[in-house]
């Protein structure tokens, strides 16, 4: 692969991701409306799709205000961190056998590292705003993401055991005969729950919880800085969906009559839909319930899953 091709792939992936993140504004509102028996945005353009343009323009032209009581530099850095860390995670995702930006041999760990850096955006955003509600949101976000990061890593280790590699291309190739969802159903469920918590989407949007904390950690943000949190959230959904597909649903594998990237995109779209369905149907748990659920139920389950997987793998090897 030449340098030029590499740059082309990087730009292509970036373009597609940003388009998806913006397009999700429309998709989410239409799907939510569908499940809640209303119409949703349907005026601007065919099926209301120009709501994306309208929303983006609105965000760009809002006054970009930094509160005088805020810690200016940290306040500005926080929204950039969320987008940067999520976009960096996409570096290791194999979109097809050839479309992958960096084929790292510690790819999976790199994903976990980047998602653990994403916590800073919430913590710093909440703290720098110098606002009580924001600080509460930041505290909640920090403890939630710290807790669910642990299960997220451990729930993927079953797949690593079956493959014997952290490389995502190897993991996809190992699913040629059978998808890992069959061997690791518990691992999939735990990873998906952890993924929802990690992107702090409803039902786990405890850090922003608009009914109790106004908007939590981004209450003081406006204009495109708020837009970055917004886009970061949609990118996060796309990332977790793409990771789920790669780890448990065979990645780009699929019948040969269509190109691999099509299968990858299609499967990812289904999981993005699942994220939105979760938002439409589940209520938000209380903060202590969420943390208790994590440490008291998910951690033992994840460890049991790891133990059984290890034991069976060892047994079959002999």
């Amino acid at each position: 692969m030449t340098v030029f091709q590499h740059i082309l792939i990087v730009l292509g992936v970036l373009f597609v991701l940003l388009t998806i993140a913006a397009g999700l504004i429309w998709v989410e509102r239409r799907l939510l409306a569908l499940w809640q028996d209303r119409l949703g945005p349907n005026r601007a353009g065919p099926l209301g799709i120009f709501i994306v343009v309208a929303d983006t323009l609105k965000l760009f032209f809002k006054e970009d205000w930094i509160p005088p009581f805020a810690d200016k530099w940290v306040f500005v850095a926080a929204p950039a961190i969320v987008v940067a860390s999520v976009l960096m995670s996409f570096v290791i995702i194999p979109f097809s056998p050839v479309i992958v930006i960096a084929d790292l041999n510690v790819g999976l760990l790199f994903f976990l590292a980047m998602s653990s850096l994403g916590v800073y955006s919430i913590v710093l955003g909440g703290w720098a705003s110098n606002n009580k509600y924001s600080l509460l949101g930041a505290l909640r976000g920090a403890s939630q993401m710290m807790a669910y990061e642990v299960f997220m890593g451990l729930s993927l280790m079953g797949v690593v055991m079956l493959t014997g590699s952290f490389n995502l291309q190897d993991i996809v190739a190992a699913q040629r005969s059978m998808w890992f969802i069959v061997y690791q159903p518990l691992g999939f469920i735990l990873f998906f729950i952890a993924g929802v918590a990690e992107t702090h989407r409803l039902p786990f949007d405890i850090p922003e919880a608009e009914s109790e904390l106004i908007a939590g950690y981004h209450a003081e943000y406006s204009g495109m800085k708020f837009g970055m949190f917004f886009i970061g959230e949609y990118l996060g959904i796309t990332l977790i969906s793409a990771m789920t597909v790669t780890m448990f649903f065979g990645g780009w594998l699929g019948p040969g009559f269509l190109p691999p990237w099509f299968w990858f995109g299609g499967k990812t779209a289904i999981f993005i839909g699942l994220f939105i369905l979760l938002r439409a149907s589940l209520p938000r748990p209380r903060y202590d319930q969420l943390i208790g659920f994590g440490w008291k139920l998910l951690l033992p389950l994840v460890l049991a899953n790891l133990l059984v997987t290890g034991a069976v793998a060892l047994l079959l090897k002999k």
Partner: protein, 205 residues
Amino acid sequence: MSTLFYLSSLVAIVATLMVITRYHPIHALLYLVVSFLAVAMIFLSLGAPFVAVLEVIIYAGAIMVLFIFVVMMLNLDKDTALQEKQWLRPRVWVGPALLTLVLLLEIGVLLVRGDLPALQLAVVTPRQVALSLYGEYLIAVELAGFLLMAGIVGAAHIGKHKKESLHRFLREETDAHEASAGDAREVHTGDGEGIPEKERKTWQL
């Protein structure tokens, strides 16, 4: 690779200097995060990707978040910065700085003489790390596990406390529960104590 090594070393040194000289604790901690990321880059450029990623996950992603978490709750403001300014007078740092200068000169001499071994660029895979951890160094790993377990048990013990005052709604729930269990221990709340029985019942509805 060696250019990357020297570049990230430079970032690490500058970031660590900033950690020491910042007056605001959160800013200092942010520079410390940058320093950890730079150290991870150093590991990566020396061919240890596994350690590099663990450095990011554990130090930058977990431990530093906890540090910031705690400092955030302390609500430190200008007073702390002032105090820090007083503590960082030249009288305090000039002694250690002179001693470190000697070490720096020694490094300079070593680098100029140039009889240092070249950078070893052997890639250590995660598999090799795992095999040596669970083979050669098994005892050390288990001992570290014991130590962490002791820490967790201690934290759980300190963190666990029985609620002494309950909200009146919860109190009635507890009362009913304890009465059914045959235990008539009373829970004092101090809240809603003077309210007639009848009124309390309506609130419960």
